[in-house]
């Protein structure tokens, strides 16, 4: 039963990942990424991390990817911009690189871990209470630093993306919706 779930969602994750990297339209690629993120959230739950799985959908698929879509729509990025996706040489090199990675790393990982048995999932491992104990106890400093990082990132994004104070006319065209969504 669990194997069936794993196989279905693993196939879904790999399939939608292929669509993400190959589809011409960026909007479709983004929607495919949502599917990939959802499938990996299921993987997380299978691996005994339901909290991380729910957070993945809530934060990653529910906010970060929405941000991507917003920018895509505000900038009105159309399909025509990239009919030829990369030259043939680039594509072959990339495929070769990915193939080499798979060929080298995957057997390594598999052989290193296949003999180890994970052990049964205890209620204690899965519980959110223990996760919180780790997060706010052992890793409190890292937690605070990440909070600071997020603050810095928000400030930086706001500063970088805002309209320049005295914009010369004609720089931002009138046909993009971005001109009316400025603060």
């Amino acid at each position: 039963m669990e194997t069936a779930i794993f196989l279905i969602f693993a196939a879904l994750a790999l399939g939608s990942a292929m669509v993400v990297v190959t589809h011409k339209s960026p909007v479709y690629a983004t929607m495919s990424l949502v599917l990939t993120l959802f499938s990996t959230a299921v993987m997380f739950v299978l691996l005994g991390a339901p909290f991380i799985g729910a957070l993945q959908v809530l934060v990653y698929a529910g906010a970060i990817v929405v941000l991507f879509l917003f920018v895509l729509m505000l900038l009105n990025i159309s399909k025509e911009e990239h009919q030829q996706e990369g030259q043939t040489v680039h594509r072959w090199v990339a495929l070769l690189g990915a193939g080499a990675f798979i060929g080298l790393v995957v057997p390594l990982i598999y052989r290193a871990t296949q003999s180890r048995n994970a052990g049964a999932l205890t209620e204690e491992f899965v519980s959110i209470r223990e996760f919180a104990r780790d997060l706010f106890g052992r890793y409190l400093l890292q937690f605070e630093i990440v909070g600071l990082l997020l603050l810095v990132a928000v400030v930086a994004a706001t500063v970088v993306a805002r309209k320049p104070p005295a914009a010369p006319s004609g720089v931002a065209g009138a046909d993009s919706p971005i001109s009316e969504v400025e603060p």
């Binding site: 039963m1 909007v27 479709y28 929607m31 949502v34 739950v45 339901p50 909290f51 799985g53 729910a54 957070l55 959908v57 809530l58 698929a61 529910g62 906010a63 929405v66 879509l69 917003f70 729509m73 505000l74 899965v126 519980s127 959110i128 209470r129 919706p177 969504v181």
Partner: protein, 343 residues
Amino acid sequence: MQFELLATAAKMALMLGIFILGVAPIMLWVERRMSAFMQDRPGPNRLGPLGLVQGVADAVKFMFKEDVTPAGADKPLYLMAPALALIPALSTYVVIPFGPDLTVSGKTVPLIVSTGGAGVLIFLALSSLGVYSLITAGYASNNKFSLLGGIRASAQLISYELALTVAVLAALIPAGSFYLPDVVSYQQKHVWMFIPQAIGFLVFLVAMFAETNRLPFDLPEAESELIAGFHTEYGAMRFATFFMGEYISMTALSMLAVTLYFGGWTLPWVHLTGWLGAIVGLTVLLGKVALFMLFYVWVRWTFPRFRYDQLMRLGWKVLLPLAILNLLLVAIATLAGWFPGVG
């Protein structure tokens, strides 16, 4: 394992049945009659006694209307958007408890479809997926008004989602768990959460209205502003699907509000068990949710609409700080031991 599967399937069928078969037709009727009552006019009263068959007539009308797809619309996304509105909303019921534990042939069956520990988080995660229907509908319609409406609606949703999440977090602190039956049993033992956490409940209430695009926050679909916003180009059955999705997410959020703040399926001094307890619990839950839905309709026809900048300002500058303040107060109160029964 077999028994568990069967029990889960039965619970799912029950909850889905209530949702799909119950919510939309009943709400349609309630909305139209109650708004008519508030506006001192009769409302639909021709079809059936008190106009009860009106919903059926509307459904038939929707099914026979011509299905027009705008030229130049992004076909797959255009067709996907109504489904994206419905599916996340329909799946959020899995974490709502609707009765005390049943004992069937020696095994305990908790009356909740998902018995995992991450209850409320799953609810929030699934309801945050509802944003995609707005964005894709607005984008795929090849229409500037739809695009603007879609962007505004989704910006509104993700803004109020924050305040909603923080308010929910504060409500969970006394119970000490994300698992909703724990929250319900805490409220049964001590006090319904809306009393000590009035600020949090207020924030949740306002955010609830904004999350479902209901007045006074329905600018994205307002007729006088953006034609019909993100669902301008959707006719007939597709529009009906958006409609249904909106009602279902209203019901889902009301269920969450009832479970977090009003004691869920419990009544103050009633402690029934077994099948009788289950039926009473379900009825009580549905009754409270019905009151919330009435409140939704009541508010709709009472307040004027918020302008978009007022809306965003309210969400970020008023609700979010209030929610955080509430969280802080609850945390301090829990540490000081003012919440009954918390270690």
